[in-house]
């Protein structure tokens, strides 16, 4: 007789989110304490997520792990759930409803860490191409705060070009191609996770490589060790926070309350300049993963599943 846990996610068909869901399933399976997962996994907005959460409440789950589409939009449903005694854990992004637990990647730190490394590698001066995510998205706003904090520490760094990739690979590639073709001078590129296509664009166009900071997506991590002359760094943004969220929910159901309602997972940075960084990269690289999956498939201290379990992407009873 295990727990019955509900999952709600509102973006589908994106490697990062797929990994998140697989991590949730794998963690539920690996913990051995979960009887069934009830997964609402579709492309929708706050309104649809409200409906999904209410359906989960009706289905009688004991905990809900949710990647909120929006920081306020689903508060009413979360309140209904916690009022009914259900444990709610928001992963990846925060919600403002105080009764929910939050376990998320520290997006501000993510941007700060990468930008700082980039600016240092550039020698503290020069122009940088700043390739953001989707305009208006919460994570993008948080990352912008971190990026600007790093900028403030390096007064001689300027922004050569600021663009929104919309987290779309093709759009990002077209933009960097335009920038290269236009002859805008720049000495570094910071991208919000659209990374391997950027490296591709440099290689294909024959333009001289500059330092590039991206996320720990499998494709980019591979490039960091294989592309000749590329200096770069991958900042971890594990989709496996989903697994951590499930682990947190199980802990709470087991009666172990965390000290804080909000737990931030801090990112790590793996660069390919120092030996230590190279070793980190080599350890993380995994040719079995889809290039869009983050390679950091687990989070120390939280997740307990094996690599094979997350790749298999099977939950309890599947």
């Amino acid at each position: 007789e295990g727990y019955k846990i509900g999952i709600s996610n509102t973006v589908q068909g994106n490697g990062w989110r797929e990994q998140m869901v697989c991590a949730m399933k794998a963690e539920a399976l690996a913990s051995g304490k979960v009887e069934s997962l009830n997964i609402a996994h579709r492309n929708t907005d706050a309104a649809g997520q409200l409906e999904d959460i209410r359906n989960l409440i009706q289905a009688g789950v004991q905990a809900i792990v949710v990647n909120p589409s929006n920081s306020e939009g689903i508060n009413s449903a979360i309140k209904e759930a916690t009022d009914a005694g259900i444990v709610v854990v928001a992963v990846d992004q925060a919600v403002t409803e105080p009764s929910a637990y939050i376990l998320s990647n520290n997006q501000e730190q993510y941007a700060y860490l990468g930008a700082k490394w980039l600016f240092e590698t550039m020698g503290g001066e020069g122009a940088v191409v700043y390739m953001r995510g989707a305009a208006g998205a919460g994570a993008d706003n948080d990352r912008d705060v971190g990026f600007k904090r790093a900028m403030a520490e390096f007064p001689n760094i300027t922004i050569a070009q600021e663009v929104f990739t919309g987290w779309q690979q093709d759009q990002g590639k077209q933009q960097i191609n335009d920038i290269i073709a236009a002859g805008v001078p720049f000495q570094g590129v910071w991208t919000s996770g659209i990374d391997n296509v950027i490296v591709d664009a440099f290689v294909e166009s024959g333009a001289p490589l500059v330092p590039i900071v991206g996320a720990d997506n499998a494709g980019f991590v591979g490039q960091l060790s294989s592309v000749e002359g590329l200096q770069g760094a991958a900042v971890t943004n594990p989709g496996s926070v989903g697994g951590a969220g499930v682990a947190l929910a199980i802990q709470i159901l087991d009666g172990q309350m965390p000290a804080e309602k909000t737990v931030l997972v801090d990112p790590a940075l793996w660069e390919n300049v120092t030996e230590e960084g190279k070793a980190n990269l080599a350890a993380a690289a995994n040719p079995n993963l889809s290039p869009e999956w983050p390679v950091s498939v687990s989070i120390d201290g939280w997740t307990t599943y094996t690599m094979d379990q997350i790749i298999a992407c099977k939950g309890p009873g599947e």
């Binding site: 093709d170 002859g183 296509v197 494709g219 889809s290």
Partner: protein, 325 residues
Amino acid sequence: MTTTTTNTPVLARLGRLMVDTPLIPLTLILLALIAVLAILNPAILSMFWVGNTLKIAIPLAMLAACQTLTMLTGGIDLSVGTAATIAAYVTATATPLIGAPSAIGIAMACALAIGVVNGIGIAFARVHPLIMTLGTGLIATGCLLVYQRSVISTGTIYPEVLVWLGTGRTWGLPNGLFLFIPFAVLILWVQRRTGFGRLLYAIGSNEAAARLSGVRVWQVHLALYSLSGIIAGLSGLLYLGMVKTASLSLALPLDLPSVAAAVIGGTSIFGGRGGYGGTILGALILTVLATMLTLLQMPEGGRRILYGAIILAVTALYIRLTDRS
């Protein structure tokens, strides 16, 4: 007897020129945009930039061929983005399992299947193309999601020929032209010099009249939407080689621009008028426009405003110049 003054206003004369040779004003618009670009950043006009622009415009121009052909009959095909995405995704994920040739074969079969279903719904069930293609697009996306769950861990490989076509260059120009130039010549020939092409115009201008002349309209619809599916699949393969990412939404963002390219190129959404020559120019205009907005350092909001405004302005100008009287 009064003499009619024969000095017609300049605008009207320009209009007549455009009706006769619609490619001229489009070329002028394109050159004007390039001139603006050159003023903004004189360094830009390099061979590299030209090749790059062509490369980006090719998949768009190919998808816009689907819109041009279907719009000639008064239809539209909003499932092309999905068909292209499916072809790309299936190729990338099936290649590790069964090798590139078979994977490409299966991918093209999927794209064709979408076209055939569209054709059947439009030809026999007489569902409006807008609804039909949106519906099959939805269904096909669903199938892709189901498929994706089953291949999640197989990894992806991009067949070399596609990568060569998508990213390689020869004498500074993208290899994609080796696919696109024969393709464009073929489409132009089909549209202007074949019975099938004529029938597209005929159905778009008066379906009842075409029927009375002995045209079996369903045959044309079935062939047309199947062709559209094949073209979309092909564009998807090329796009895969270009972007080297198998995402579930790869070519979806091209759906609306492909319609816009055809409309800007002078093809009427009501059917019966237009052609692929204009569409190619339309695709180039949109691509150059996107570059320009990137270079202008616009924030995202301003970009969208300008992009929308320029598309509307070009369309309105074109209508104004060609449609008076």
